[in-house]
């Protein structure tokens, strides 16, 4: 969301923390996300009393309890509905929604589709750990195919959801990805989400060190990160690799990885990132190769803002209609309403 209710006194990240002891497993990626959110809110100077954090159910959805703001820990998958109503009751609030890959894409998938297309002004953080954490380790809609979990001893059979492709297919107005283990990038993405007026969909790769440890290490670990993660920057060419020796070209309309150190290609030949280009964004969401089965020139996993566009927010339009109605029909009069068109007297 854009209009940021400022707090008058300068606040520290710690001012956004509650006295409740945090109940996540030691080492859980959620801790880092919590910290970055608190840091960013402090930087943005958002008034804690003007913030509402709405979540569903899941480890991730415990988030509100740890934020010294208004918070509602609702029911499984239904946070978007609550957010929609809250925004229509009070559009001024800075509303953040916390959900998980199960909460937001399994039971809550439909509400996610509809809040994205309606474009309420809310910042959605989807903690993707590719597992059901709170219920102790069943596979989730984002789990990779053939994943062995408590509920799939011989491996899962469900083709995984590609959250960002789904978000694009739902005509989201802001689509981005970040990770728990890169505080700087995560903070940056949180700020970008906050600045976007409309529904921001931010997928955050989050490590569940108990039930799905290391799911994203290929992308988040210093060792491999540079070779597997592609950081998107507006107006910059798509370059990655241990020593930035690889780039992405659109050859025809097929994205291909090209070496930059063999003379054949240079940065100028590469695809320039444009977060306002829906077609390119659709391509980028398809950079989704399974890191466990890398071919030599496999496509890196992008991080950053894939796409953003401006559409009026749903609540804006609703209040606009209320004004129009008042202007054209005049403020409603209860007596007139009750009387209706035809009345008669009994003497």
């Amino acid at each position: 969301m854009s209009q940021l209710p400022k707090s008058n006194i300068k606040l520290k990240a710690s001012d956004y923390a509650t006295d409740q002891d945090v109940r996540w497993c030691p080492g859980c990626g959620d801790y880092s996300i919590l910290k970055q959110v608190q840091t960013v809110l402090a930087e943005l100077g958002q008034d804690p009393d003007q913030i509402a954090i709405i979540s569903g159910i899941g480890c991730s959805s415990r988030f509100p309890y740890y934020m010294e703001t208004y918070g509602l820990h609702s029911i499984h998958g239904r946070a978007p509905g609550i957010v929609s109503g809250l925004k229509l009751a009070n559009p001024e609030l800075s509303v953040w929604m916390v959900t998980g890959d199960g909460d937001g894409l399994s039971i809550g998938g439909n509400h996610m589709l509809h809040i994205l297309r309606r474009n309420f002004d809310v910042n959605i953080m989807l903690f993707n750990n590719q597992i059901y954490g709170l219920t102790k380790g069943q596979y989730s809609p984002t789990s990779e195919l053939h994943k062995k979990t408590k509920s799939t001893p011989l491996g899962s059979l469900d083709h995984p959801v590609n959250p960002l492709a789904f978000a694009m297919g739902s005509d989201a107005t802001f689509v981005a990805r970040s990770m728990d283990r890169d505080p700087k990038h995560l903070q940056e993405m949180l700020k970008r989400s906050a600045e976007h007026k409309g529904t921001s969909f931010l997928e955050i790769y989050q490590n569940c060190n108990i039930f799905n440890d290391g799911a994203f290490f290929t992308f988040t670990d210093k060792e491999t990160k540079k070779a597997t993660a592609l950081f998107l920057e507006q107006g910059k060419p798509l370059i990655f690799g241990q020593n930035d020796e690889l780039g992405i070209r659109l050859d025809g309309y097929k994205p291909t990885v090209v070496p930059l150190n063999e003379g054949e290609f240079s940065a100028d030949d590469l695809w320039i990132h444009d977060e306002f280009d829906m077609y390119k964004a659709q391509f980028l969401t398809r950079f989704f190769d399974d890191p466990n089965h890398m071919s030599e020139y496999y496509l890196p996993r992008p991080f950053g803002v894939f796409y953003q566009t401006n559409r009026p927010t749903y609540e804006e339009m609703v209040f606009e209609q209320l004004d129009i109605a008042r202007k054209s029909q005049g403020e409603g009069n209860l007596d007139k309403l009750l009387a209706g068109s035809t009345t008669w007297e009994i003497q």
Binding site: T18, D19, Q20, P48, D49, Q50, I51, A52, I54, I57, P64, Y65, E68, T69, Y70, G71, L72, H73, S74, I75, R78, P80, G81, I82, V83, S84, G85, L86, K87, L88, A89, N90, L93, N110, H111, L113, H114, V318, Q321, L322, I324, A325, R326, S328, Q329, G330, E331, G332, L334, D335, L337, L338, A339, G340, T342, T343, W344, E345, I346, Q347
Partner: protein
């Protein structure tokens, strides 16, 4: 000039029946409004065909509108029909059995051609117009279609449009027959078709043609008059149940000073509430058509959290989906009004038919110990006050409340002596007040007042930042708590809080009858009219009976038990398999007598009277 005798009648039941396309609902509405203007009392009951429009002329396509009016108090739309207007063969076939012997049939002969007869599934060669059984009735055949086209021969309209005026011909005729003027209808036509001169003209012409047809045609020698009824003094209007709910909600919004939010997903027969509210934006009403019923109720919970008068509305299948979220609202202790316009169940059941289907689900359809107040409307007009009351309870007691109506109330109409807005009581609300967030005193969202009600602290209020959710909360602080004793305390407190509402609702009163005696007929919801008319008759016959209609189904009024014990027998008629009876037996251990009809249609006066009479005989 033929001479015409005028006969005065005490009451009449007219049924307009025709094809979905014949505009019988409009005809019924207009004749009803005109009847209302004469000061007669009345009750109506439309019966639509099943949702999907069947092909024209078929039995499935018949649409009906029944009007019962009289110079005495009218409680029901009438068991049997005195005058049937049938626009085609299918309409006659489906309705003839409802017409009393000796009743009047007004038939559109043009609706009985071979095609119509085939569609109405008459054997080849069989023609109802020649059916000897018709001799038991007074039959008037008229070629409505032909006559309409004739009187419009100079109109520029196409035949299809001309034929759409058919119903005006019939309406005109009936206005004449019941000694009315055409004024109210003319006024309607003028406003409705303003700017569409040709159509306006055509409707007027046809209306008058029908009116004069009666006047001039030799066959019609009698007109009738029904005088005004002994209604209380005052200004009246005609009202339908769903409309009354809408007004009740808007009134609650204005009287509480809270913006009205309505989150809903369309479903028969509740959709009209969404439609009407969406047209009241100048009252600041926000309507949100959600993607499903769960999102709808959750949006209402969010709006309530944000400080609106939050309402969600649906019918049975939708209510079944809202159970989990109702539990959340109950745990959050936020005000929320859940409107359920009941229809025939189970499952998709009979979507367009009426049934008191969901009392038990309303009381028990959630996981865990989850008491929710339930309020029911008893008639179209009563739905206004009942909805207002339901909203008041939700707001003042910080709880979800279920409001029950049904298809019969929703689509039925009756005269309503509507209130002046200045006479409608305020609903006092106070939100928790802000404080300095650095005063070191943590805010306590679950600290209750003497009525066990917690404060309503809106996001955005300085210094009150706090967290709530669906996990069991600690008393006072509202923190998550797994403490055993706290859980029991909270379960009992939530129950006590709902029980306490009994202190803030009126005691149960009698609609009519003796304070103690042989038989109390106890009803809830839409059985009101029929019970009242039956008890009225029984009282006139000198029986020791009484009628009470329960609006507050949870908690019950405090005196309900004693009231029931003042009679030898308690009879509970329901349009279900005995749901209130269950609850009464459980709560009061009283052996009640049930009368149940589960046919998707109201109980008739005769049915209930005969049953009650038999019961009285056994005492």
């Amino acid at each position: 000039m033929k001479n015409i005798t005028k006969s005065v009648q005490e009451e009449v039941t007219i049924k307009f029946a025709g094809d979905s396309g014949d505009g019988m609902q409009l005809t019924g509405d207009l004749f009803t409004n005109d009847t209302a203007l004469t000061g007669s009392d009345l009750a109506t009951f439309p019966d639509f065909p099943a949702e999907i429009r069947a092909p024209a002329g078929t039995l499935a396509g018949v649409s009906g509108f029944q009007l019962h009016f009289g110079s005495k108090k009218i409680y029901t739309p009438g068991d049997t029909v005195d005058v049937l207007v049938a626009m085609n063969a299918a309409a006659l076939k489906t309705n003839l059995n409802r017409v009393r012997a000796g009743g009047t049939l007004i038939l559109n002969e043009d609706g009985f051609d071979t095609k119509n007869l085939r569609l109405a599934k008459y054997e080849a060669g069989e023609n109802p117009l020649e059916d000897p059984r018709l001799e038991d009735y007074e039959v008037f055949k008229m070629n409505v279609t032909k006559l309409t086209r004739e009187c419009l021969k100079d109109s520029p309209l196409g035949t299809k449009e001309k034929d759409r005026c058919k119903n005006m011909f019939v309406l005109g005729f009936l206005l004449w027959r019941y000694s009315r003027s055409m004024d109210s209808v003319i006024q309607f036509i003028d406003t409705k078709f303003k700017g569409k001169a040709d159509i306006q003209e055509a409707n007027l012409l046809t209306l008058k043609a029908g009116y004069h047809y009666g006047d001039t045609t030799e066959t019609f020698t009698t007109t009738y008059e029904v005088k005004s009824a002994p209604l209380d003094k005052g200004t009246y209007r005609s009202i339908m149940g769903n409309q009354a709910v809408v007004y009740g909600l808007v009134a609650a919004s204005q009287k509480s000073g809270l913006p009205l939010f309505y989150g809903s997903y369309p479903i028969t027969p509740a959709s009209d509430i969404l439609h009407s509210l969406s047209a009241l934006k100048n009252f600041g009403v926000k309507t949100f058509q959600a993607e499903d019923e769960i999102a709808a109720i959750c949006s209402a919970i969010g709006a309530s959290y944000g400080g609106n008068l939050a309402v969600t509305g649906t019918s049975g299948p939708g209510l079944a989906l809202k159970g989990e979220a109702m539990g959340l609202a109950l745990m959050l202790e936020l005000p929320l009004l859940i409107i359920n316009i009941q229809r025939g169940g189970p499952s998709t059941g009979l979507p367009t038919k009426t049934e008191q289907a969901d009392l038990l689900m309303s009381l028990y359809g959630r996981n865990g110990e989850s008491p929710i107040p339930v309020v029911a409307a008893k008639s179209p007009a009563d739905a206004f006050e009942a909805a207002f009351e339901a909203a008041r309870i939700a707001l003042q007691h910080m709880t979800p409340v279920i409001f029950l109506s049904d298809g019969y109330i929703a689509n039925g109409a009756e005269p309503w002596k509507f209130p002046k807005s200045s006479d409608i009581p305020e609903i006092k609300i106070k939100f928790a007040e802000g404080k300095d967030r650095n005063d070191g005193i943590p805010y306590q969202p679950y600290l209750r007042d003497e009525n066990l009600v917690r404060p309503w602290a809106l996001p955005g209020t300085p210094g009150l930042a706090h967290r709530i959710g669906g996990l069991e909360k600690e008393d006072i602080t509202g923190n998550v708590s797994y403490d055993p004793a706290n859980h029991e305390h909270m379960v009992k407190t939530r129950a006590a809080k709902v029980e306490k509402i009994a202190d803030f609702i009126p005691e149960q009163s009698l609609e009519m009858g003796v304070e103690q005696g042989d038989l109390l007929i106890l009803g809830w919801g839409s059985t009101y009219g029929v019970i009242k008319s039956v008890v009225n008759e029984l009282l006139n016959k000198g029986h020791q009976v009484a009628h009470a209609q329960v609006r507050y189904l949870n908690p019950f009024p405090k005196n309900l038990g004693d009231m029931m014990r003042s009679y030898k027998k308690v009879l509970i008629p329901e349009i279900n398999n005995g749901q209130l009876a269950k609850v009464i037996r459980d709560k009061y251990l009283i052996e009640v007598v049930q009368y149940n009809k589960i046919m998707g249609i109201p109980i008739t006066h005769a049915e209930l009277r005969d049953f009650a009479a038999k019961l009285l005989g056994e005492i």
